[in-house]
Amino acid sequence: MKVMIVEDDPDVRQLLEMVLEEMNLKQAIFNNAASALAQVEKILPDLIIMDIMMPQIDGFELCQRLKNNSRTKHIPILAITGYDSKENRKKMFLCGADDYLAKPFDLSSITGKIRALLGLR
């Protein structure tokens, strides 16, 4: 199974890489939304983990575009953010995200959500 990561922060990106590695999941890593959008149809991952606050194209727009694309709309999306608020959470779900997690998160929380979204035990 392949997981796409869209995250502009290197620390978080690195951690996610390691977590996915620990879970034996393949990764496609992008540090901005534009390059992720360019590649997503080619990669067609089983899960997309994306940051919300990103320069140029933010997580809300990226999520909307993916969900509006018939080839990618079925891919579950896990949104993560450093600026947690009810409004952001609500807006993200309205854009089509499947789950949401506030930074900084515990390892158990992120792995639990990844497993759930990928349908793993």
């Binding site: 922060d9 620990e22 998160f105």
Partner: protein
Amino acid sequence: MNNIRTRLFLAFSGLIGLVLAMGVVLVLVSSRSQQLIFKGIYEYTQLMSLREVAFSIEQQWRSINYFILLRDPSERDKFAEQTRIIGQRLNDILKNTSSEGEKQRLTEFLNECRKYWSKCGYFFQGKAEVLEYTEKVLTPEYNQLRKNLNDILDSYSQNLHATETTIKEIGRKSFQFSVGIGLGALLFGGFLSIVIFRSISRPLYKLETGTKIIGEGKLDYHIDIKSPAEIARLAESFNQMVKNLRDLQLQVIQMDRMSSIGQLAGGVAHEINNPLTGVLGQAQLLLEKLPADSPYRKHIERIENAAQRARRIVRALLDFAREKNYVFRKSDINKMIEETLDFCHTEIESRHINLIKNFSPLPEVNLSAGHIQQVFVNIINNAIQAMPDGGDLIITTRINSEKQFAEISFRDTGIGIEANNINHVFDPFFTTKDIGQGTGLGLTVSYGIIQRHNGEILVRSDGPGKGAEFIVQLPLIGT
């Protein structure tokens, strides 16, 4: 005398009184002068009549002399004519005389005249030796008559002169009196004007200076005016207005400060969350990989704990920065305090804190329960932390009927607050707690929440070791 109206009233009354007194005196003086003038006229008329009598008597004496020299019988007729005139004049004078003494004197004179005339009649009839009779009888009689008449004339003249002198004296005195009173009124009026002008203009000047100083931004300036009452009241209202303005300014500064700090905190929190995710996640990953007996475990656990603490601080910052949705509903404050106490129950018991509740029945208050509960938690937690060796926590609820507030007081017997710190307890990041014990945002957040409810949060403390009291006031209407 303390107000402008009374001062003006008294001043004008004084002036009007003075003018009235002057008027009354002048009326009395002029009426007396009029009486004296009438008296003078009367005396003058009488004197003129008496002079006519004197003239007629002289004419008669001339007729006697002509009769002796010329034996002209027409002199007898002239004498008779003068007798008639004298009689008539004297009767007129008698008629106009009111004084009894005068009447008697004039009557006596008339009788003397009559006697004289009868002797003259004897003379004109030629019954006596004319020359000899004249020398021996008539001349002494005539002289006596003239002398008596002159005495009467003198006395009338003196009376007239006395009256004239009195009229002049009264005129002079009345002039002096009028000038005196006029000058007095002028001086008194001037003095009153100065006193009143100064007593009104000075406080007005003080008020004007005060408003200028306040206008320049010195909001702690106090205009102190005790009198007159109207200006004192105006100054007091102005002082009150300035105080309200100052309070409002302080509130605006505090809110502005909180808002800027909130924005800053929000930005910083977001930036810190990313590296913190790395630190926390990596530590947890490492802990998963390390064997249970690894000597490095405790170091990594410390890293994880430190990261967890940083996460709590960031969360508090974000809570502060973010304005959570306020949902106002009618709520029972006493019940909310009970719920909060349930929440802090373990801490209260473990610290051996004696909880005293003085709850009064309160009407339901329109408030955002989640937020107010957060305020109660913050205050109770502070009280618990202020009493590490136990103490009393007295929670009182009551209605402040005057201000229409529900008032909740939290009083503890803990470490108290130093006088220097009491004005800073609501400042962002102000804390006297040990590092890691508090973020310095709890009371700042509470302050913001109570402001949103149009209420007030107050703090009192008699100093270190003497406990502290936090009072929350929530309006019963208008929230």
